[in-house]
Symmetry: C2
Subunit: 333 residues, 2 copies
């Protein structure tokens, strides 16, 4: 039997079809429709699941269920997604699970996008050798998740906001409206705002030139990577600053949690890869209370597919697996 | 059947005898012997357990086991305590469980002093209504512990070092040798060092006058409380600074963990009580990512006895309870 996972983002919908061994056997990736509101987005998710099943050369009858990782506030039991500001015309609280279930005829599991991404890294990715880890996902913002005893720790529902640990009192402005949060230094939106402030003051940079050449309107992870390649002074400085903040926040988190590993993911984290993770590890070390027991600091292993794979893993939570779900079942046993 | 808990500190040994309902029915508190090395300390613990059983009017035959909360590095399985710098002449690794078991004829459970204190607050104290909490214990240093799903989260053995979360990059010097840790602002040793620095620079304070009047050589929690009562400017300023740092660190921890409650304990925390906890709560709020879901911030309820009660709770971990251990068994059920 197969599970589908949908990673719903503001710019793209990524679907993965996962078999009983945890392998991805089919995929579909489309831009998130911008013109037909939430109904258009839901229709596109349904069609993408069908297209991914076709890609997997699988009959729809073999689909056990669909997991959806979405931004915003998730009400799992009601099957709704609210306050998803990144999604086009997503007004108020939108029923997602109901319409998708009607269209696809299988159970739909909603979950938070970052949380499923962290779980995917824990069960199938870089965190697989460990029973405890901290996931730090640097994308537009900085999200995260804590895995203890092989389970995601949700707290009262909002645990894992590593991006809003304070790294500098009264520090840089954060998109959340506060100051000095990790995200204010290591989230792409805040980094771009700072780059624009510096450029407005006459500081030189190739960042915006590269952005235009790539046909982008935002400093994407690819733009940052390219500017680093070209040794652009401002890009180097802002990435150094992000690494400094990530090192401080991750060290504080490790002193508090003492988990085995830190997995650095998200668009920017995956793009900059292992060298980025290693620099964060070096930056953490002076702040660790037990530097001789430093945790593993690893780059996320599943890349862009992690969100969709993690969403697929959610399906097992309500449906007893018919076959084995590969390593997942093994590790839970 | 009865359980004994021993809270072993550098200045005092506190024993509590706990009955099947979790009530303390006998006690003994003596100064930690300073002149006979670790053997003298172990003998004193053994005698204190006997004296506390006498205080409880209980026969030694009704003693199920003894839990010992100790500073330093605990090897639970080996029954040893190492690197306990606060204990008099405690050189290298000292066998504690073996000699105590021989003398008392019951199993001995060793554990970290702060961890048992946090567990006591979780099971029997201020954290009792909650299944998740963060304990922050301000004494000479700042220790802590995390409770998730009603269990202490130990990580790789060293979780809960909230005192070494960084609140200010390159900030105040910390007794750990680093800079800017929470403990550098909210631990009594660091606060005293800062007070002495300020006094050496000619700043006025009644802190040291109060200390001498109390016949102390250190700024104890009682000295701080008295100076606050007298509105001593330096004491007020240093406590404000401690609250500022506690607010920042606890907010970062809550953004990460999203636990239900923060319990403020330790010598200084207990002495300053609920008003101190409430000021920390107010200081946290502006840094919470979900201020509308602020956690409960409470003063520890068990005071000086918490460590010994928590140590007694450890006994259940290896010995099947004969009777009920009151609320503990109820909550674990």
């Amino acid at each position: 039997m197969l599970r589908a996972g949908v990673d719903l983002g503001g710019t793209k919908i990524q679907v993965a079809i996962v078999d009983a061994d945890g392998n991805v056997i089919g995929q579909c990736r489309i831009p998130t429709p911008q013109d037909h509101g939430s109904a258009g987005v839901i229709d596109a998710m349904v069609q993408s699941v069908r297209d991914a099943m076709t890609d997997a050369k699988a009959d729809m009858g073999t689909l056990l269920g669909v997991g959806v990782g979405a931004p915003g506030q998730i009400d799992h039991d009601a099957g709704t997604v609210s306050h998803a500001g990144n999604l086009p015309d997503w007004l108020g609280t939108v029923a997602v699970a109901g319409p998708m279930r009607t269209a696809l005829g299988v159970p739909i599991e909603l979950a938070n996008d970052v949380q499923v991404g962290v779980m995917a890294e824990s069960k199938l990715g870089a965190g697989r050798p460990y029973t405890s880890m901290l996931g730090v996902f640097c994308g537009t913002g900085v999200g995260g998740g804590i895995v203890v005893n092989d389970e995601l720790w949700l707290g009262r529902g909002a645990a894992g906001e590593v991006g809003h640990m304070v790294v500098e009192p009264d520090g840089a402005p954060c998109p959340c409206g506060r100051r000095g949060c990790l995200e204010a230094y290591a989230g792409r939106a805040a980094m771009e705002a700072e780059a624009r402030r510096r450029a407005d003051k006459g500081k030189k940079t190739k960042l915006f030139e590269i952005m235009e050449k790539k046909g982008r309107t935002r400093l994407s992870s690819g733009v940052w990577a390219k500017a680093l390649e070209k040794d652009d002074h401002m890009a180097v400085d802002l990435i150094d600053r992000a690494i400094w903040a990530l090192g401080l926040a991750c060290a504080s988190a490790i002193n508090l949690l003492d988990v085995e590993a830190v997995v650095i993911g998200g668009g920017l984290g995956c793009r900059l890869g292992t060298p980025f993770a290693e620099r964060i590890r070096d930056e953490m070390k002076p702040h660790l209370i037990l530097p001789e027991k430093e945790p593993q600091v690893l780059s996320a292993a599943l890349g862009d597919l992690g969100g969709a794979m993690g969403a697929a893993l959610r399906v097992e939570h309500t449906i007893p697996p018919v076959g084995d779900l590969g390593t997942v079942t093994d590790r839970d046993a």
